[in-house]
Structure formats: structure tokens, C-alpha cells
Amino acid sequence: MIRREVPSDACDRLRAVDTAAPGEIVACALVVAAAAGVVVRATRGRRAARIAMFALLTVVTSAAAGFVRPRLRQVTAAPREKPGPGTVVGYVSSAACLGCHPGEHASFARTFHRTMTQVASPATVRAPLDGRPLVLDGRTIRLEQRGGAEVWATLPDPDAIIEGKRAPDVTRRVVLATGSHREQAFWVAGKRSGDLRLVPYVWLIEEQAFVPRREAFLIPPDEPMPPVRWASSCIACHAVAGEPRHDLESDSFDTRVAELGVSCEACHGPGAAHVERHRDPVARYAQHASKSPDTTIIHPGRLPPERSAAVCGQCHAYAFPRDEMGWWTDGYSRTFRAGDLLEPSRTLISPATMAGQAGAPVIDAPANAIFWPDGAVRVGGREYNGLIASPCHEHGKGERKMTCLSCHSMHGAADPAGQIAPDRAGDRGCTSCHTDVRSRTHSNHAPGSSGSACVSCHMPKTSYALLSAVRSHRIDSPDVANSVATGKPNACNLCHVDRSLAWTARWLSEWYGAPAPIIPEGRSRTAAGAWDGLAGDAGVRALIADALGSSDAHAASGTVFAVAVLEELRRDPYAAVRFIASRSLSRIARGASSAAPTLHRPVSAVGAGFSRTNEELAALALGPDGRLDPARLRELLAARDERAITIAE
């Protein structure tokens, strides 16, 4: 049974939009009266001219009204459940910035930060709103457009599901849409005031496909997706100065935000004082002529490095509020603003804090869901934790201390996904400091190749988020001993997936004098891509599934081995691993569609790119037909790290 839940005031709101304001009607009447007056005066004694003139004006105005009024009726009010205006003094929203900073406003508006959370409408929802049935556990979910500009969802009652009760189908207006880059999630009103709940399907933007939300995250197959609420899980980073305003007694929210999405004041601080001061044109031109910084606004590029990095770190860090009770009311809106350090408002989570460091908050997640054993963060989007543990940040001084702005830019970046500053593209982010010849030549890879890029070796994709591998922002160098000890893939073997750790150790020793590590027998004789991809934990398997679909890995290792491992990963118990493996296979198929060899041809027929000795085939765990050897596969699966892994994005 479908229960229709139409907001009681929906019709009133539509009527309000459809009705002109009294002042507007009076102004229109005044203009009409003035026009009639001049016509009467000009046609005195010319009755025919007067009649003709009035007839003409009446007919044309009526025709215009008939054309325009139906369009006005399509204007729809925003959902009433959307977060209300913020209560923190000083925020004016990005709309106030446009008048003076149109270029910056436009460049910011091109980024995915702006669209982190938006009021749901056909213009902001990226998914098709055709009401197609999305079946999950035998229940049908639909997203559709109604009433011109409203988005509605039919879904099992999300509150009843959380309470473990029988969940009838309900139809509710979609209030917010979160994300617009890789995937988009949709929020409907929950039972309690201000409580937004997720539609159980998300839309994958690149793949143009709906997937169940529980399959879009790396969680164990038998584990239910933890319930999330926008006002508690998302508000801190998907809005400016978000205030949950949680009522403990009723477990409801009176959520407020200065602005949805990450906009100007998230990075520049509250703008009211700046706007007020610069309404005065004299003050503006005095500031233009002055060499001293404007004290009414924060410029992240002119902050000391620690404070500059904290601007991004307010969202791109794993942290926990120092005043948890206060956070449930005000979020960070009163304890942090751009230009502050993070520490006064939150505790940065690290392996030490998770190990029970005195005074540290207790995090309800296993340490392996957040950090590698060597302390590197394994969750994408938390780059601040990696940055501050990097030698370039720890040991850098002044302008040579690495911050986010050493490579990234909110304004002027051509690529809205990576937001790399144009003057820091390629290796220039590193060579602006590392100017010596050795820094430019020590890669021992062909100049211009992906292997010669600084980030390929020093920022490998060992973090995971949103069904993708993400570059680590803890700058380090390939280290086989660390891979052995922690299970974290090293940069070399994320391209040279068909080579063993022993092979990598040999080259690192020859080129850079790295000490020879002790590598267990099983790993030293097995290609790292096979070992990590088949015997690693679920997080490692996801990274390898992603790497096996990359053009860099194909250039270094060919595709036959990748296809063999990916075929097995398509049977992985974790839905996210299966999804990434399928996507990588699709990428290989697209790349191979114009090439002669098919993906499953025998090894001997694949050509010079895949001529291997029996010993090499054994290392790859492949049989002579180019598929995984069953005995080696069983051996690797028996060695698999079966610990339940949840990447706590």
C-alpha cells in the first residue's frame, strides 16, 4: 500500500508563488494609468484613434498574459524540510560575493564543492526522474518528477526500517541531493522534524547507473548499512556553518546552515563585515591602492601554512569534535572559521588516538577502517591527515612548507575534479621546491612517461573512497618492507602489477640503495597484483581492482594478467570490489576494442607483449591459457586476509 504524504501547505505555497504582490499590482496599474492618460490626451477629439489605440493595447496585453501566466504557475517553492537559515552572525552567503568578485564566483561555481549538497530539483538531481522501478530486497523504489520542478521518491518507510518495524511504501518529496561528481544520494524527510533519511539507491554519475547504496560503499556483505542522517553525518562538510540543533528529548533537528554546499565563506570566513565595508566605493579603491591585507576577510593563500591547510582540513581530515555535546547543537559553526587552527575545535584522529590515547575520543570504528598499520590514512577525502604527516609539510619552512595550495586551487583550476592549480600541473607542484637536477632525473623511467611523474611514486593510490582508489597525500617513497609489514600496496607494484615484491626490492636497491627486505616465500614468488588482488584484505582488493583497470598498469604489465585477476574479483564477496572489477574490465574492453587480441585468447597468441617463461607464469598464478591457475588460485584464496573491512568514508 502506498501512503501519499503531501505536505499540507504545498498548495498554499504554490498559490503564493502564483499570486502577484500588492505593490506589484499597484505599480502595474500606475503604469497602465499613465499610458491611458497620455493616449487620452493625444487622441482628444479623435474617437476612432482612441478606440483603436485602447483596443490594440488591450489585445496585446491580454495575449501576453495568456502566454506568460501558465509559465509562472510552474514556479515551485523549495521543500519546507530543507535546512533553515543559519543563526551565526556574519554569514551572508556566496550570493553577496558575486557583485564584486564575478570571476572568482564563476570559477568556484564550476567546482564540485558548490554542489556538495543542493536542494533537490530536476535541475540539480543528476539521475533520471522517469519513475523507473529500482528493486531492492523485493521492494520497488522510484524517483520521479512531479508538479513541474519537484522530485519525489517512493520507498519503504525509512523510519520503520530503522525501528525494525514493517515498512509500508511511502511517497515523499526529495528534499536534498548530496554529491554531483562521482555519485549522488537523495534525502527525504524522516518522521521527526528536520530528520532527513536516505533513499536506498544512489546514482553513479560516470556510469550513469543506479546502485543500491549499500553496494556503493566498502562494507562486509553481511553487514547492514549504518543509518545516516544528513544533520549529523553530512552537515559539517556539505554546508557552510552548519548547525544540527539536535533536540535530545525528541531526537529531532532544527537544522540551520549559512549556505548549502561548500561555498565562499567556508574558505574565506564570514563575509558580512567585508561586504559592509566594501559597499563604500572609497573604501574599495583605498583597499585596491593599499599594500596591506584586508582584515575583514580571510585569504587562505596569505595565511601561515598551518592555518592555510586547516581551511581545507576542516573537511578533509578525520577529526572528532572536542565538545561533542556542543557540536550537536552548533556543529563547528561557533568554534571554527576559516583562518583558525583545527586543534581548538576538534581532535585529529590518528592511530594513537584510536589505540586509546589518554583523553582521546572513542571512535566507533576499527582502526583498520581508517588507517593502514603504518599510520597512513586509507580513507579518501581525508587528505589533511596525510599532508601533515608528510616530510614536505613537517620539515618545510615558510613558503616551502607544503600546504593544500601548493598544488590545488579553488579558482582558476581547469580540472574541476582534481582542482590542480594551472601553474602546478604535472610535476610543477613538486619542482617548485625540489629544483635540483636529481629531483628531475631520479625516476629512472622514460621522461614524460607516467612512471616518471612525481606523484606516481610518491603519492600512490592507496586510499579508497566512492568506489575508486585515491592518491595518498602522505608523501613517501616506495618501500617493499612496509608493504610486507602492513599489506599496503607500494607505488611500483600498482603499475607493475605483474611483478613480485622481490623484483621491486631488487630495483629499489639497485637504483636507490634501499636495504633488501625480508620477504616471505609466498609473496616473493608471486606477482604483487595477484597476491594483493586475491589474498589481500577487501580494501586492498578494491585498490588492486582499480589499479588493474588503469592505463598506467596496462602500459607496464599488459592486460592479460589484469583480466585474469579481475575476472576472479568479479566474484568477490564485497559488492564494491565486484563493482570496481567490472568497471576495470569494461575499461580494458573499451581500450581493446580497436586492438586485435581478444581478452581471453591463449597466452601464446597474445603476442610479444605477453611472452613469459613458465616461471613467470607461475609467479602470475596463470595457466598457459592466460587464466588463473586453479591450484594457485586456491592457494591464494586460502591465504586471503578475511578480516571484515569497512572503509569508514
Binding site: E24, C28, T43, G45, R46, A48, A49, L56, G99
Partner: protein, 167 residues
């Protein structure tokens, strides 16, 4: 039809028994001077008004008024600029019309005069009211007056052009 020398110089009919003039009837020589005065007055007062509006818009820019420059006010900004531009140009057109009548009295038509004056009110007035009460990307109801003003302007131009001849 040539003007009769005995008719009064005003557009007001001399007596109730006089036959009303048709919409396309030309204006008498005396009436032309009335039209010239009227359009000169309308043109110069209109110019004064809409130049002031332009200055007001510049002031809104200078003080970065949220009503005028903030994001989401694009429609208001566009329509107020259109009000200023149309008002100014139509005022100049009224002055040009007056000068045209002085040079070519035969071009004077009551209907053309009324239409031109109506367009001077309706076009910029419609843009102005539609801009002040804009709803997001849509103008306010005042914009309904704009098509009427545009048609009146076309009528005035066509009528005047058809009579602007040296023959």
C-alpha cells in the same frame, strides 16, 4: 487632404457638431505645433527621468547593493537596465518625432502620436516594474506591458514612416 485655412490650430474640435476625425486623418497645421510641443516635452522630461534612473543604477553598482548585484538578481539587473535603455532611447525618439513633425507636418497623425507616447510609458515602465518584482529567473507581471508598448512603437513608426515624404 489639405488643411483647411479656417480650422482652429488646436486638436480640440471647434464644435460638437463637427464631424469626428478618423484615426488616419492628418493633423491640421495648428495641431502639428501642439504635437511638436507635446513630444518635445515628453521627450525631454522622459530623458531627464531615465537618465536619473541610469544614475541610480550606477549608484546601486557603486554601493554594491544586494538588490542589484547579488547572485540571483540577474533578472532584476537585466530588466532595470532594459528600462533605462528603452526609456532613454524612446525619449530621444520622441524628440526626433517632434523635429520630424516640424520638418514634415504631413507626417503628424493623432494615432501615431498616441502610440509613441504610450510606448514611452509602457516599454520602460513594464521593464521597470517587471524587474523590481522579478521572481528568480522570471520577470514580474509588469513585463506584460512590454509587448503592448512594443506594438504601439511599431504602429507609431509605421504610421510616421508612411507619411514622411516630400511629395
Amino acid at each position: 487632404m489639405s488643411p483647411s485655412p479656417g480650422r482652429p490650430l488646436d486638436l480640440v474640435p471647434p464644435s460638437a457638431s463637427a464631424e469626428p476625425l478618423g484615426p488616419d486623418d492628418p493633423v491640421e497645421p495648428g495641431g502639428v505645433s501642439v504635437l511638436v510641443d507635446r513630444h518635445l516635452r515628453a521627450g525631454w522630461w522622459g530623458l531627464a527621468l531615465f537618465v536619473v534612473l541610469g544614475a541610480a543604477l550606477e549608484l546601486l553598482h557603486a554601493i554594491k547593493s544586494p538588490f542589484y548585484v547579488d547572485a540571483g538578481r540577474e533578472t532584476t539587473r537585466l530588466l532595470l537596465r532594459l528600462a533605462h535603455a528603452h526609456g532613454t532611447l524612446l525619449s530621444i525618439l520622441n524628440i526626433a518625432y517632434a523635429l520630424t513633425l516640424r520638418a514634415r507636418p504631413r507626417a503628424g497623425r493623432a494615432l501615431a502620436s498616441a502610440a509613441l507616447l504610450a510606448s514611452l510609458v509602457l516599454l520602460p515602465g513594464g521593464f521597470l516594474v517587471g524587474g523590481i518584482w522579478a521572481h528568480g529567473g522570471d520577470p514580474g507581471l509588469g513585463v506584460l506591458l512590454v509587448p503592448a508598448g512594443a506594438v504601439a512603437l511599431v504602429v507609431a513608426c509605421v504610421l510616421t514612416a508612411s507619411r514622411t515624404t516630400t511629395r
